[in-house]
Symmetry: C2
Subunit: 318 residues, 2 copies
């Protein structure tokens, strides 16, 4: 069924209604050269940077550049840090299909979560294809984590990320045993790229319905294959849902009824529960992929950010 035939959710705020009413992106041809990808990436990052600057300004956060373990990062200080959050930290990994949202665009989500939770965030501007395919991104995230937990109590840190960011958090957590690294006190894994293959009901039922991703084929698949390079998409280092999720920290997951990655989200939730982890699921009516971010500052976005903040507060040491 196409999204035009689907009624608007009856309770949706005007902000969410406007988002939902956007057309599903058409199937377009993707770059077929390295230079074409670089140009596409620069253009997309520039657009995302504008949106990020507006979001950072709206919440009044301060953003500073940092270099940790040789990886560029951003330190995000919200307008207000709660007294009990002074020793707590959000370790943020941005989304963007592993290809986009680099540079300053990385911090948009970090700023929203830092503002809602009233705690500082550190956002990792990991390397991306076409110049740096897998495993550059998880290597960068792991390197920053190693340094950060040398200076902070891991039980006071929450990992947080959406889409590719959620997938990268899962991949990083899968490597903790090998490197004997301490786990974070909590994680937020929003509509994660936990399975890079076209698997799960929502990749079929929500194709041509999700106004953000549209469908698996085309842009999304091209980005995932560019990132994976010669890797097998079913390798748990690429599709962490196929890994052993035991030992994961308490995790909150968020998706929507129109999200192409709804199945990826609920499958991850069940895998976590089966592995014995504390895991909490929230699904929003009418929302496509990551609409809980894009609908900011609407009430549905505030609601989701509030759930994340409450969850972190319950599970992080202070």
């Amino acid at each position: 069924m196409s999204v035009e035939e689907l009624p608007l959710p009856i309770d949706a705020s005007p902000r969410l209604q406007a988002l939902i009413s956007q057309p599903v992106p058409p199937l377009t041809s993707m770059p077929n050269t390295i230079e074409g990808w670089r140009k596409f990436q620069r253009e997309e990052d520039a657009e995302a940077t504008k949106i990020t600057r507006a979001a950072v300004e709206m919440v009044g956060a301060t953003v500073d550049l940092a270099s940790i373990a040789g990886v560029p990062c951003f330190r995000v200080t919200p307008r207000q840090v709660a007294a009990k959050n002074e020793g707590r930290l959000i370790f943020h990994v941005h989304g963007g299909a592993f290809v986009f949202n680099g540079g300053y665009a990385a911090v948009g989500e970090a700023a929203l979560i830092a503002d809602a939770f009233k705690a500082c965030a550190l956002s990792v501007d990991y390397r991306r294809p076409p110049d740096h395919p897998f495993p550059a991104a998880p290597d960068d995230v792991l390197a920053v984590w190693k340094t950060v937990v040398g200076e902070h109590d891991a039980a006071k840190i929450a990992m947080a990320g959406t889409s590719a960011g959620g997938g990268l958090i899962m991949t990083t957590l899968l490597r903790f045993e090998e490197f004997d690294l301490p786990r974070p006190g909590a994680a937020f894994i929003g509509t994660p790229a936990a399975d890079l293959t076209k698997t799960g009901d929502s990749t079929y039922l929500n194709a041509e319905v999700d106004h953000v991703l549209g469908r698996y084929e085309g842009r999304m698949e091209a980005c995932l294959r560019l990132y994976a390079a010669s890797g097998d998409l079913k390798d748990p280092m690429l599709s962490p849902i196929y890994g052993d999720l035991s030992g994961f920290p308490p995790t909150i997951l968020i998706s929507g009824t129109r999200d192409l990655l709804l199945s990826s989200t609920i499958r991850t939730h069940r895998k976590l529960r089966t592995a014995g982890a504390t895991a909490e699921l929230h699904v929003y009516e009418g929302q496509s992929h990551a609409d809980y971010l894009m609908s900011f500052p609407g009430p549905e976005s505030q609601d989701a950010l509030g759930e994340i903040a409450q969850f972190f507060d319950r599970h992080l040491r202070y």
Copy 2:
């Protein structure tokens, strides 16, 4: 999209695969006389009774008839009652589109939950249309609750029900303030009939996909209208999602990605969270309406029953 084009979930057990592979029920004409409805109901109840007898036998539960406040009920004693559950009780309200699963068929779900939680259950065989439309059913559930909480500590009781049963639990809870009744310690509301109108993404996206319900039109709509009689389907006493859910007990909700009532379930979850209630959501890949019951004794069903039992154990006084 039709269910034939949808791949089977990759991890589904053979039992669930067999269920999922069943065709979606065709759109059939429904009875148009009271006598026609009575006959249809008798035939359906007889079929459901057979399935219930097999389920009760499989778990080795004992079922006894009781009359409480003039309402026929069943007392279900599982093979094993855990020591700490001796004072705890499952107050069960059966599903069946408000029209079916009366008589002995009422106890199927009660027996499965009693077995998983290792506690006794009481199942209410409420009055149904065509002879007793709304508000006979919620009146019966309320009358039994009033008597039960005169004899039991409500904090030791969990309400539990699927589909129409979940909707009736919600409707009953909405009336507790008016009658100054004590709340149960916890509730399980499985894929509830919380909204009798055709509302929510899943009523569109999962039409012709849900192998149990098929679609809103036809059988489901005819049953809901028979039950509501002249009532307005948006009345909170019929569609409790439109009521004030504040004061609801800690609640666990279950649905699936092919469930026609997925939206009803996740909207109820969000309404409960917004009202300040503890509420936990579980969504199963590939499952249609109430497949977590129908796939018993498969592992997905055991998993769902295990979640319900853990939730009750965490929240009920003992």
